[in-house]
Symmetry: C2
Subunit: 207 residues, 2 copies
Amino acid sequence: MTTAATDKRRVILDAAVRVFARQGFHTCRVSDIADAAGVAYGLVYHYFSSKEQILDTLFLERWDVMLAAIAEADASPRPPQEKLEAIAGFIIDSYRHDPELMKVIIVEVTRAANTFGLTHLAKIREAYAGIAAIVAKAQSDGRFRAEVTPEFAAQAFYGSVEQVLTGWIFDSVAVSEAELERAKTMIVDTICRGLERRGPNPAGESA
Amino acid sequence: MTTAATDKRRVILDAAVRVFARQGFHTCRVSDIADAAGVAYGLVYHYFSSKEQILDTLFLERWDVMLAAIAEADASPRPPQEKLEAIAGFIIDSYRHDPELMKVIIVEVTRAANTFGLTHLAKIREAYAGIAAIVAKAQSDGRFRAEVTPEFAAQAFYGSVEQVLTGWIFDSVAVSEAELERAKTMIVDTICRGLERRGPNPAGESA
DNA sequence: TGCCACACTGACTGACCAGTCAATCGAGGG
DNA sequence: CCCTCGATTGACTGGTCAGTCAGTGTGGCA
């Protein structure tokens, strides 16, 4: 069953990523997607009920993977810094693997307050909540200081990551592997330092 | 000369803010703006050459004030933490004063990579560069550690602020004065802690 | 009083495009 | 060899909307 039928659907989705990334959701035509996919116009409507549903599908596909990554990080027994590093790493790897898809998700969904974003607001908030939960746990462990609310810390963390990606997206210059790794380290380093307690700060922490 | 003529122009701009904030730039009609301004359709084109130029004007008006605020902070003799606090304060005050305008700028311009953002990319980058300059200076002073590049620090800082605003924008719940102030403190605190050197912990600290 | 310049009006048009649908293709099964 | 059914095609339609333009109202000035 995962033959030609499903293949074409996939081809259309992949073409849509390229078209949305280049022209933007609102500016592109459905025929652009069909052309990019090498498929007749009508076939797009055979697989999707509307232009919006294509974007919908792209977002949900990827975001669900991200929510799983956050949940997995949260569930692991590692220290909070490493959990956050895993999340930042996941997001940056997503960009490494498919920069155009990340561009579409960030530009057209995550920030598209009015039209599209509202539909997926709950999903988006789930991610913030997952990160906040990690911070909250770190605070009650005494590893992170309590002056900063977990919700705020989550926004600051996610915002930093997304802004760094946005910078790359707009520069339209390929980012080297080294830069990607370096960025991950810098984000996690900076934010974790900002959140950590300072008092007893030995190598082998023991609150 | 700053009579009725200029007034109507202003009325149209203010109406556009409300309309863009509620419906989004791409989704709204020019007639919506004219209606909201209580003005004939054609008058919009008397003052502006296109729908896009309205957004253009709104963005530039506000962004230039922000660039000035950044430059002023940079020029002051205060420590870097206070400079960054002034900038975060300016952005948050902008939101306090006109949340709808900030929504439009963030959602429709700052993140609108494809169509609109590119036009103003240079202006937007100027802001990042201004913040980066402050960080760079703080690093050569020895107040901030050098492991994090100034460009990255600027992105992380600005990204945190913008993400917190985005959170408020989407919540569509009025934010209290106290929360606004608290957010400012938390952002600056967190990021500055993340950027500071740790070694000697002199009396520059709030203690 | 007459005239000009310009703010202002809103009906109209030309272009564009999302979504529809009737027709064609082709694989598999009888 | 024909029939069926889902995949596939692309011309067409209905509606929308940015931008135009011919015209009206009015304040100021000679």
